[in-house]
Symmetry: C2
Subunit: 178 residues, 2 copies
């Protein structure tokens, strides 16, 4: 069935550095009208980098949205139009100092499709070589390696809250255990 | 290490039906100042409902953020302060007509911790009994059952884009296959 909503008008509320917010007036399949609050975002990328010993590079950083430190895979925000994989490999090197020679695409995810246009592409990276970490000005994080099996148990025990990190760990484990 | 960012001021940009947007001026660990765009959201819940035959109830609905139909687990938005599980079971019944007698918590996820305060709680529900579907005014979706193994293959083949749905399928499969 076709449940397409037709945009009748769009009103930009805010155009920020990370997000844009607009409200669209739409026509529903039954002809009624409704308002849709929509966040535009250039997209994100996350990289689960796995060593030959099946250890995974994590970054722990302060996330003001939750007023606490959060353990995540290395990740970044794209520029509008930027290629997710090259952005992800750059973020991996900047945040951890590692470069990777092989990557596998683990999928494109919509974190909150009800109101946000962000897409997060996730890759698994292997063939790691250590170079130099070089964080952005104002970027503060600690890098730590964990066995993939340890992170998998943490996901299964609900000890990892970041959605992209949970997906990356669950899929990497399924692929590498095959 | 403590990388806490200290909020110096907060400016509300928008207070909508689904999201609120504010910009905070913060002090970074090195003493510099930065701006943080932050989305407030009352929280979400998703339910992966599994039949005794290991089939999963899915809903397919139009998501204007991506201008297409999306396959997801039944889900909903909380009211501020609402209990996620009771909201989830109500959404399951409204969207699919099924009530569940048993639930397991599959975790609390932060879909986009860089700028959004939404938390999505995910549950697995079993002991299903079919009653009546009763969609909200203006809600249009189709319900379909799929074998859990089929959905798992779709996740592994990158054919499912909704993040909460991917996590729910991967974790339900790991738990039920044990």
């Amino acid at each position: 069935m076709d449940f397409t909503e037709k945009t009748l008008s769009s009103n930009e509320i805010y155009n920020g550095k990370v997000v844009k917010l607009r409200v669209e007036e739409v026509e529903l399949p039954n002809g009624n009208h409704a308002k849709r609050e929509l966040i535009a975002h250039p997209g994100g990328v996350g990289i689960i980098a796995v060593t030959p010993e099946k250890e995974v590079l994590t970054v722990t950083q302060y996330r003001i949205a939750f007023r606490k430190m959060l353990l995540e895979i290395p990740a970044g925000k794209l520029e509008y139009g930027e290629d997710p994989l090259s952005c992800g490999l750059r973020e991996l090197e900047e945040e951890t100092g590692y470069v990777a020679s092989e990557t596998v695409h683990l999928g494109e995810y919509y974190p909150t499709p009800g109101y946000c246009e962000e897409k997060i592409n996730i890759y698994m990276a292997t063939g790691l070589v250590k170079k130099e970490q070089h964080l952005d000005e104002g970027e503060f994080l600690t890098v730590k390696k964990f066995p993939l099996d340890t992170l998998y148990e943490m996901v299964m025990n609900n000890e990892i809250n970041d959605a992209k990190t949970a997906i990356a760990i669950l899929k990497a484990k399924a692929i590498l255990d095959k």
